[in-house]
């Protein structure tokens, strides 16, 4: 059964890494409902991307290590539902 997952990826901020992630989801035809990516406030060389993905638990389990094996990816967090995604957005710095 498909449902929403929050998927957050922490990675080095290099050209192409976001494309690699999106490709991995597209290739498995995983629907990306929302995407938010940002540079780290204190270190522009690192960043993170958060997704709300609509897919099955099994697909989530299989795609997670495929994302984690990208060279620039440090770690990922996955959880059911959208709460973690919105919590991630909340802690992003707001432009004053």
């Amino acid at each position: 059964m498909k449902k929403d997952f929050s998927f957050i990826v922490y990675a080095d901020n290099s050209f192409g890494i976001l494309n690699r992630m999106i490709n991995a989801f597209n290739r498995r035809r995983i629907r990306i409902r929302t995407l938010m990516a940002s540079e780290d406030e204190h270190n522009p060389h690192t960043g993170s991307a958060a997704f709300i993905l609509y897919t099955t638990e099994e697909m989530m389990r299989k795609v997670k290590p495929q994302i984690e094996k990208f060279i620039e990816v440090d770690h990922t967090q996955v959880s059911e539902g959208t709460t973690a995604f919105y919590a991630y957005i909340q802690q992003l710095p707001v432009e004053k």
Partner: protein
């Protein structure tokens, strides 16, 4: 005329004053990585690098292929024969896009190559300038890592990282795209080999609890069965595998890419797995009580219908790539580790054992396969020459010792079945991608990567015509490749499927071919043809004995089928030995 791959120039610039150009930094970085051989094809955007190369003629061999696809397949063959990283230079635009098939092939077959592509000057990026293409985005899905360099200062560190990533962990292709201004501008040079990357952990810590759990399963198993893949070769686990198999009395089968990781003449070797593998190896997958998969990824050509695959068995999966574990087949015990490290840890925990009845069950299936298939393939009484007899004779004549490179199709499966590989890393093929046209250039690379070994490329008439321009490279650099074309005037494997599954509707699979012998001779390579069974043995002898490049065409049965076969989508238990008329 034979030409050397090195230019008559002497390296007189190694100690020139820094700063140096980015192009020269490329060359010095490669020398720092102990590179000796490069495969490539020049063009506008990579000309500064070629100009720098000109000055290092006595240090670096450059093989000018006839197509960029040939360059990357040659680098793959070089890497797989030598265990080193293959290196490729090409220009931007079409040069770079011509690499895509090879990158995809290297990615799926875990082959370490570093490709350096020239790119238009950085101010032209994104402007549709002449020969500008977005090679970075085109190649993302088919590279382990890629980087675009726009400043000469970044070249040494990018190359250091590229080599480290290509060869560590599960190896793979890496692409470095360097803008022309970065090649021309100067910067200070210092080379620091890459020792590690913060976000990349290529060697997982061995989980001893998993190893102990695996040992327990092995010790209590009655019918254990090892499936050995390319991970065994890549990690150098051949000896550990042999010792484990011998200690616990476990039969060993190979995947396509695992061939040559376990000697075919070993009493515990039971054969080749998969769609056109052996009968016993496939059937007993669904009879064993324990499957020990080492450095393999349960490809669909191995599992057939995965829902009916080894359901009765417990499964131990030893695999370096975490994304492969539980991807296709659920593992009861997963050991996320380098194959050699895991097998060496397992060895002392495994009790000595023998499984004579279990081994005997393989022998019975083997006997049946021999009677119904091999005896007819190897010793046909009449008709045209069969692929099976050619490969069987080749195997006998070379005592399973040659380095064999196959293309894709029937000849590939027949070779995998009948060539008895006895030495590690002597089988190179395009497995995951199944790239026709791979063998000829890959064999050139293999011959340069393993110069002391006899290299034989076995190719179908279809695949040969996909990259045959590399005959020019072979002739120019006098690369000692033996080229054996098994000519059935058909795209044989596709024709077989049309016959078996599309009621013999041969839709565009028959080919009118040129006179291959004349064609090859035009390149200056000695070439012969055999059409009669009586001449096959002597033709093979002459082919093998003469030094240097050589070509032999064998006209084989046009409508022969490769059996046994697991029909697409069927279970490994449903392997068919023959089709009833």
């Amino acid at each position: 005329m034979q030409q050397k791959a090195v230019l008559p120039t002497k390296t007189d610039r190694l100690h020139t004053e820094i700063p140096i150009t980015g192009a020269e930094a490329v060359i010095r970085s490669l020398l720092a990585e102990s590179v000796t051989t490069i495969f490539g094809y020049p063009g506008g955007a990579i000309m500064p690098v070629y100009d720098a190369l000109y000055h290092y003629g006595d240090r670096l061999n450059h093989i000018l292929t006839r197509h960029e696809q040939g360059a990357i397949h040659a680098a793959q063959g070089y890497a797989r024969a030598s265990g080193r990283v293959g290196v490729v230079f090409v220009t931007s635009g079409p040069g770079a896009t011509n690499l895509v098939t090879g990158l995809a092939d290297a990615m799926i077959d875990s082959t370490p190559v570093v490709c350096i592509t020239g790119q238009v000057a950085s101010h032209l990026l994104g402007t549709d300038a002449f020969q500008e293409t977005d090679v970075m985005n085109i190649t993302i899905p088919v590279t382990k890592w890629s980087v675009q360099v726009t400043r000469p200062d970044d070249i040494p560190s990018a190359i250091a990282k590229a080599f480290y990533i290509a060869r560590t962990g599960r190896p793979g292709p890496v692409l470095i795209d360097i803008t022309k201004d970065a090649q021309l501008q100067k910067a200070p040079f210092s080379y620091v080999p890459c020792q590690g990357i913060k976000t990349y952990r290529p060697r997982p810590v061995l989980n001893m609890q998993a190893v102990q759990a695996a040992a327990q399963l092995i010790n209590s198993s009655q019918r254990p069965y090892i499936l050995a893949g390319q991970g065994v070769l890549l990690s150098g686990a051949m000896e550990a595998l042999r010792r484990l198999a011998e200690k616990a009395g476990i039969p060993v089968a190979n995947t396509l890419l695992g061939l040559s990781s376990f000697p075919a003449n070993h009493p515990l070797y039971v054969g080749f797995l998969g769609m056109h593998g052996n009968y016993s190896t496939n059937r007993n997958t669904n009879e064993c009580d324990l499957l020990i998969a080492v450095g393999m990824r349960f490809d669909d050509r191995v599992t057939g219908d995965v829902s009916k695959y080894a359901r009765q068995a417990k499964i131990i999966h030893i695999e370096l790539d975490a994304a492969e574990i539980n991807k296709n087949v659920h593992a009861d015990v997963a050991i996320h580790a380098d194959a050699r490290e895991a097998l060496e840890a397992l060895l002392p925990l495994v009790k000595p054992n023998q499984h004579p009845e279990w081994l005997e069950s393989f022998r019975q299936y083997q006997q049946e396969e021999y009677e119904k298939i091999m005896s007819r393939d190897w010793f046909p009484a009449s008709g045209l020459i069969k692929m099976g007899e050619v490969i069987h004779q080749l195997s006998e004549r070379t005592r399973g010792n040659a380095l064999i490179v196959t293309d894709v199709g029937q000849h590939q499966m027949v070779t995998s079945r009948y060539y008895a590989f006895t030495r590690p890393r002597t089988h190179i093929t395009s497995g995951g991608l199944g790239t026709m046209g791979f063998a000829l250039p890959a064999a050139m690379g293999a011959a340069l990567g393993a110069p002391d070994q006899p290299v034989i490329a076995i190719i179908g008439d279809g695949g040969f015509q996909m990259t045959l321009q590399e005959l020019g490279t072979i002739a120019q650099f006098h690369i000692p490749v033996k080229i054996l074309v098994l000519n059935n005037s058909f795209l044989g494997m596709v024709r077989q499927w049309q016959q078996l599954f599309h009621e013999s509707r041969y839709s565009f699979t028959e080919m009118t071919n040129p006179d291959f012998v004349q064609l090859v001779k035009a390149y200056g390579i000695p070439a012969h043809r055999v059409t009669e069974r009586e001449s096959l043995a002597s033709a093979l002898d002459a082919f093998l004995e003469q030094p240097g490049p050589r070509f032999l065409e064998v006209k084989v049965e046009k409508e022969e089928n490769v059996f046994p076969m697991v029909p697409a989508g069927a279970s490994v238990s449903d392997m068919i030995l023959e089709v009833k008329a």
